[in-house]
């Protein structure tokens, strides 16, 4: 693949498909949420109310970030407690969920359903009730936005890991959900694609929940939630939470005891 020229800076902001800025941000609400998977209590007693536009989630491997993301997206229901977005239970009302929340899985291979790139992007759109022709047109517009029009007919198994990640992201963005949950979206992307994506995310009207191991990516977020062993350890403004998070990570990193791997 040749180096792609990055999007012009204004491209994302002037997106005709973007919601008008008047749209109210979705409100996440978790009350007494506990989730058990088998014997294991993966999330314990989480209470949370959030309506910020940019929310970051940090935490060690196995602390429950991905599980929390699946819960927010309504892919799993809590064992105890309630989880809602703007007053709607995402696990129950899947139809409403399609417009409210989109999720980028940590592993793109777990997300891709279709053998051809354009089919993968178009699927979510037809699921939302768009006619086929319209879905195809929007898929192509999305591909073009990332300079990937030539991918349309490509079989998905021919894409590299990072390319698959970008495809999954395009499929989620095309549906224009009010809230986008991204589970480590940058892990496989090269620097130009990452920058392009970050700029795109800055431009979208949708609220964003971003899971990341990289504090720098969350620096200017409105709020950061730090999970530890399935509980909220800290929750607040990005600056102070990230500073303490980094300090703690370094401290643990200097210890030699790997037996402490959470999980």
């Amino acid at each position: 693949m040749t180096m792609q020229s990055p999007l012009p800076p204004k491209a994302a902001a002037s997106d005709p498909n973007a919601r008008s800025s008047a749209a109210p941000s979705p409100v996440l609400k978790l009350a007494g949420v506990t989730l058990r998977l088998g014997q294991h209590e993966v999330l314990s007693g989480i209470d949370l109310r959030a309506d910020e536009r940019r929310i970051g989630i940090v935490g060690r491997n196995g602390s429950g970030k991905t599980t929390l993301a699946r819960l927010l997206a309504g892919l799993v229901a809590p064992t105890e407690g309630t989880a809602e977005i703007s007053g709607v239970d995402m696990a129950k009302d899947r139809k409403a969920a399609l417009r409210k929340v989109g999720i980028l899985f940590q592993n793109p291979d777990h997300q891709i359903i279709f053998p051809i790139v354009e089919e993968e992007i178009g699927f979510g759109l037809t699921q939302m009730g768009l006619p086929k022709a319209e879905a195809a047109a929007r898929s192509h517009a999305m591909l073009e936005r990332f300079d990937k029009a030539h991918w349309a007919k490509a079989p998905v198994h021919s894409l590299s890991q990072g390319q698959k990640q970008l495809l999954c992201l395009m499929a989620v963005l095309a549906m224009e959900p009010a809230l986008i949950i991204l589970d480590e979206p940058f892990s496989g992307l090269d620097i130009p694609t990452r920058m392009q994506l970050m700029r795109y995310l800055d431009g979208v009207e949708a609220s964003i929940v971003l899971i990341s191991h990289d504090p720098a990516a969350l620096r200017d977020f409105d709020r950061v939630i730090w999970l530890e062993a399935g509980r909220v350890r800290e929750d607040g403004a990005a600056g102070p939470v990230l500073t303490r998070f980094e300090r703690q990570m370094r401290l643990w990193g200097e210890e030699d005891d790997l037996s402490d791997l959470s999980g």
Partner: protein, 199 residues
């Protein structure tokens, strides 16, 4: 045997999918009616000629897509050789070769979406009866999506085995492969749910 649409565009890509599928059905019926190995050999040659109209690269791709078939053909040949029905064995092997190659030709020159549209059209009567055919349409896409991916995972498991063992892997990777396939199924279910499921 499931090959994806060929990236080499040939004349047959421009024919409507229903026409190709109808011709394929007809040709397959004829192939099964023919008994003589000589005539069947001619049919195989004709199919090869058909592939050749797509050029060298296309022909080579067609050959590669038949790889899995060779084992079956050899098995059939050996079995009939042992039981002394050489003529019948030849007929079966040639018929299979021609039929599968022809089916591959259609797959290689038809976009999956168009293929599914034809299937969906044929199932219209079922829909009239109130049955949902979306599940079937999706199933076709899933098979095509996951065949290369499972084959690839098998290859990766083999590599992972080789990286840590001087011996070749055998049946030992069957269980992990099965586990991976089940794992895949669970993930697809979740991915479908994330995008509205099958209602």
């Amino acid at each position: 045997m499931i090959s994806l649409t060929s990236p080499v565009e040939i004349w047959a890509h421009r024919l409507p999918a229903w026409l190709k599928l109808a011709a394929l059905s007809l040709a397959t019926v004829c192939l099964f009616a023919i008994e003589s190995p000589a005539v069947l050999a001619l049919a195989v040659a004709a199919v090869a000629g058909l592939f050749l109209t797509g050029g060298r690269v296309f022909l080579a791709e067609g050959f590669r897509n038949l790889r899995i078939l060779w084992t079956f053909l050899v098995l059939i040949a050996v079995w009939h050789g042992v039981t002394g029905q050489i003529e019948a064995g030849m007929a079966i092997a040639l018929r299979l070769l021609a039929a599968v190659a022809l089916a591959n030709f259609v797959t290689m020159t038809t976009r999956l979406g168009d293929m599914i549209d034809v299937v969906s059209f044929l199932l219209t009567p079922l829909r009239r009866l109130g049955l949902s055919t979306r599940a079937l349409e999706l199933a076709i896409a899933l098979v095509i999506r996951f065949t290369p991916s499972i084959a690839r995972k098998g290859a990766l498991l083999t590599q992972s085995w080789r990286a840590r063992s001087p011996r070749r892997p055998g049946w030992q990777i069957v269980m992990p492969m099965a586990a991976l396939a089940i794992d895949d199924a669970e993930h697809v279910a979740e991915a479908l749910r994330a995008r509205g499921g099958l209602e």
